[in-house]
């Protein structure tokens, strides 16, 4: 149970916190403000409460695939928000992206936590609590490391590195959406192009980290690889195209 709850937090809190840390590093060095993050957290928590209240009914929609289709839509919207953020440099779009992802990951954490806690006996509740704290601690520490690493890189000659990492994380949103669309049979499954499970398993700690950052899959299908590459090439092309120092405009959402 301890390991399960650690993995649970790594699976949902880690991608969200890494995404936030990348955007924070980019925006903070330009505006000296993290006020947008407070707004994004507010709207994200609000979204979590609303989604959590209706998710069981939503999940039965579309022949039992309501949850997959809603989650895929939110990930696609987050990806589009990042593309528009890269294009227009508006903090509002960063706020929208984080709010959307916080809503979906927050709802997942709520479902998992309520499922674990309601199923668990009194004896294992302590293990769950410790596991949750450990999982959150690991995720938060890694996000903090990434934040300071990217912040430092922006002051050196690697100033475009945070944008490239943001593009990698944005492409991950499409990988997530594709996963849910395949599960709902809206996209073809296909045979895996390769299988690197023996080298780096999806369920390993490092596998979770790489998945959270760039959407690593040990045995992806052609559809997954193709759409991931497409989703990665678009923001990278935009970064190359906008090869001047952009200025972020502070707009209240």
């Amino acid at each position: 149970m301890l390991i399960n709850s650690v993995v649970l937090f790594l699976r949902d809190a880690l991608p969200l916190l890494l995404f936030i840390s990348i955007l924070s590093a980019i925006i903070y060095l330009r505006t000296n403000s993290l006020g947008w993050l407070v707004k994004a957290t507010f709207f994200g928590v609000l979204g979590t409460v609303v989604l959590s209240a209706f998710i069981d009914r939503v999940s039965e929609g579309f022949d039992g695939f309501g949850f997959e289709l809603l989650t895929a839509t939110i990930h696609i919207m987050a990806y589009l928000s990042v593309l528009l953020f890269l294009r227009f440099n508006s903090i509002v779009l960063a706020t929208v992206a984080v709010s959307l992802l916080l809503s979906v990951h927050g709802t997942n954490l709520y479902i998992y936590s309520s499922g674990f806690w309601s199923s668990a006996s009194v004896n294992v509740n302590n293990a769950l609590l410790i596991g949750s704290i450990l999982g959150f601690g690991i995720s938060f520490s890694l996000a903090l490391l990434l934040y300071y690493g990217l912040s430092a890189s922006m002051m050196e000659r690697w100033s475009k590195l945070p944008m490239v990492v943001l593009a990698l994380t944005a492409a991950r949103q499409i990988t997530e959406a594709v996963y849910f669309l395949i599960q709902a049979d809206w996209l073809p499954t296909g045979q895996p192009l390769w299988n690197t499970s023996a080298w780096l398993s999806d369920s390993s700690e490092f596998g979770h980290l790489i998945n959270a950052l760039i959407g690593y899959e040990a045995s992806p299908s052609a559809v997954q690889v193709g759409l991931h590459l497409l989703a990665l090439v678009i923001p990278l092309f935009m970064i190359m195209k906008l090869n001047q120092q952009p200025t972020v405009t502070e707009v209240t959402p």
Partner: protein, 112 residues
């Protein structure tokens, strides 16, 4: 023209759902019934899981690359396959020690 295209997007997957062979599993007292199901090889099948408990459960399988929350008193659907013959384990994420099962894929290994 645009409406037709959008309609196609919505209805093509819906039409394909109806073609799949269906299998049913129930969750009772944090256990899967039946705990083993046999499915044909190299065929995509539709697995419907009904959770009769008062708490949510997550159907999870590393072998099948599927994870899906099934809310209390609700039914969820998962598509699996096409798979080569073999045994593919699954478990309930919230009760991993008791809620376990496997999908046994039978048939020849040639693709359809």
């Amino acid at each position: 023209m645009r409406r037709w295209w959008l309609g196609g997007l919505i209805f093509v997957p819906a039409m394909s759902w109806g073609d799949r062979e269906e299998f049913h599993i129930e969750i009772r007292n944090h256990l899967f019934y039946p705990a083993e199901i046999q499915v044909p090889s190299n065929t995509k099948i539709k697995l419907r899981i009904t959770n009769l408990d008062e708490t949510p459960e997550e159907f999870d399988s590393f072998d099948l690359n599927r994870e899906k929350v099934i809310f209390p008193k609700r039914t969820a659907t998962i598509f699996i396959g096409p798979l080569p013959p073999g045994e593919y384990t699954f478990f309930g994420e919230y009760n991993p020690n008791s809620a376990t099962g496997k999908v046994i894929v039978k048939g020849n290994s040639n693709a359809n």
